[in-house]
Amino acid sequence: MPKLTIDGIEIEVEPGTSILQACEQLGIEIPRFCYHERLSVPANCRMCLVEMERAPKPVASCAMPCGDGMVVRTNSETVLKARKGVMEFLLINHPLDCPICDQGGECDLQDQAMAYGFDRGRYGENKRAVEDKYMGPVIKTIMTRCIHCTRCIRFINEVAGVPDVGAVYRGEHMEITTFVEKAIGSELSGNLADVCPVGALTHKPYAFTARPWELRKTETVDVLDAVGSNIRVDARGPEVMRVLPRVNDDINEEWLSDKSRYSYDGLKRQRLDRPYIRQNGKLVPASWTEAFTAIAARLKGLSGNRIAAISGDLVDVEAQFALKELLSRLGSTSLDCRQDGARFDTSVRAGYLFNSGIAGIEKADVILLVGTNPRWEGTLVNARIRKRYLAGGVTIASIGEQRDLTYPYSVIGSGPETLQQLVDGSHAFSETLRAAKNPMVIVGMGAFQRPDGLAVQAAARLVGEVYGMFRDDWSGFNVLHTAAARVGGIEAGFVPGEGGRDIHGILDGASKGEIDFVYLLGADEIDTAKLGNAFVVYQGHHGDAGAHRADVILPGAAYTEKNAVYVNTEGRPQLARLAVFPPGEAREDWKIVRALSEVLGTTLPFDTHGQLRQRLMAANPIFGAVGEMTPASWAPFGAQGPMDTAPFVTPITNFYMTDPISRASVTMANCTEALVGPAQERTGTHG
């Protein structure tokens, strides 16, 4: 372990640590533009120069590994002068348009120019101007501002795995560009604006809308997929202005998918801001009392087996738990949080969780994807698999469709028969799995959203058992969910109880007239035609499919408007926090259920959020460990049985529109038009 002296302080570091990293360990700030801790090191901006004894000139600290006995100075005259020189060169061609630049106030160049900039320009020649490039519907470019740090090129090549961005020409004429004015075909393109240290790449939907210092920042979690990315919601007054990723090395590192980042304009459209009651076939505005009275009137005298509830993709744990409590008081056990119709065993936690954790992907040496397109179902899970691929020494295979997943993999089969062959060892891939130290299987909803889902789950479990994926030191059996509400719903017990119907049973019963009352808790992805003549209550925040069919609408809060728990696909409970208040008369969802219970004469035993949380923790202790993964113990799950030969099909046909929020978003509509539409025409899979 090399020992060196930085600014007179001795430090011992891991071999391979760069001087810049060593400085960071000591809390010494080194200015930089091109260096990014999650990208490769090109050392081309020269801003991180430091002085090193016995070196003839200042060295770039980001690319210089620590050596034994080095003596480094980061604050000497020479260093200051060198950095000032670099800064002056960078500013030669950088426009002085900070007042109209969206990066203003959070710009690395602006900040560092305060420390190292000269107070006047000495450059009398013309500045260069660069044509702006088209980079798709979410990235705005002002290329004259570019300082050629190449972070965007490295991000898109390394993390996103979509080699669409490069630097053409040379020297002063160098330009960053996509190849020939093409939208970047990556679900992670929004991160380009994050890594850009200047205002060359900015967020198109955020352009000219706000300044960073006038925003109220709330740290919360994302719910538009089941990954549970950590985000920061920036709001001004009652409006969400933007969504940014927050660092969480276990989940999203510091990236965010475009859907999670840019769907926020959907929070301002199609909102349910007051209760409605259907009268003579038309929804008319009503008061809360009227809405509750209408529900109570319909429920009066209804026996429990004629009542059912379905919860949707964006619902928090508290609301599902409260509704479950209410339903059991009404005598109903017909409730299901799997509105997508997936069939899987919810009795054993290991059977429906991403047991290894998303970070665990980095330890796997063979990854088998089953009926999943992780690029669309869990973009950051896919990014993690790509990270694993880049580290080398991993074999990736898939049972399902052939898709571009940004890393090479082989399709070893299309349906359940391949799983069966893996179980009995007759498939060629069995050898690879057997030789693996840490084999991993990732099962997607495409494998469960079929009549033989339970049998597929059992077959996947057997694959896990045969190849040692359930060990004390390694759990390689993973389920990748598509909805943020799903695991939370299961953990809160929002699944069919004793004698209760599941989602298929509820819809069947409703269409046959066996169920008279259906409570949709934000459930929009169901076939509402199957609800038949049932009385439908829709509680949610968007006027989507469910509200369209409803007889009573109760306006709820979106994920940015409530303090609530969400559980991601790993089984990790995380807190969403209130960033803005729900619009109009809309209320937090658990409060609505609680208020309704009072009208129904069966008041739920909690008056505050704290009491509800207490009950939740008592019902399931995992909710007490916020931010932690509670390891799932292993027991057999699924139901062995005959399996269909039909191939696995991914459930998501359009990444950018999967839920009421993203469907209401203009940005997501633009992305669909620019990226999904053309791609489907190319492959001929549309229509």
Partner: protein
Amino acid sequence: MSAPASDHGHAEPTSFTFSQENLELAKRIIAKYPAGKQASACMPLLDVAQRQNGGWLPRVAMDAVADLLGMPRIRVYEVATFYTMYNKNKVGRHHIQVCTTTPCWLRGSDDIVHTCKKKLGIEVGETTADGQFTLGEVECSGACVNAPVVQIGDDYYEDVAPEHMERILDALARGETPKPGSQTGRQSSEPVGGPTTLKAFTTAQADATTAQADD
């Protein structure tokens, strides 16, 4: 991007395929590199494509190289736009590249450029209306000892004086290939006016040595 070749007035071809002969050549070039490292063949292949396409590289040709090597297209554009010897714009049949870097400039390259402009009626960077000549200024051609230097196609014309330049252009216009090398008849880079040292070695002997070396 502004495509590597977007700033010219002529139409971009819409397709490019390597000729059978060049495809064979390309495969031989690729075979020089270890498996998985075929991207190393990018530059020679771009050269092959440029020669096949009459001295310039349209975007479709870069795409063809990228596809042949399994490289992302943008990586090939980066290479092609970085090097000035890949012409992103259409050039005439004779691409006249006058070196104007300091040694050539000191030895009168300005006069050469001027002669070309006058004779051909075009400015630097332009192509004559008949598509025969393109005039270009280049940075150091690496033959400073014989400055000024003009590169036409693959040939170097050295020790060029304005009157030589006129003669060369006339000959090219007639469809002839003027003799490349020193226009003053100087042997490689020997001193003008004969040897100044080691005079015991006569010019004849030196010639014989050179001839042997050439064999």
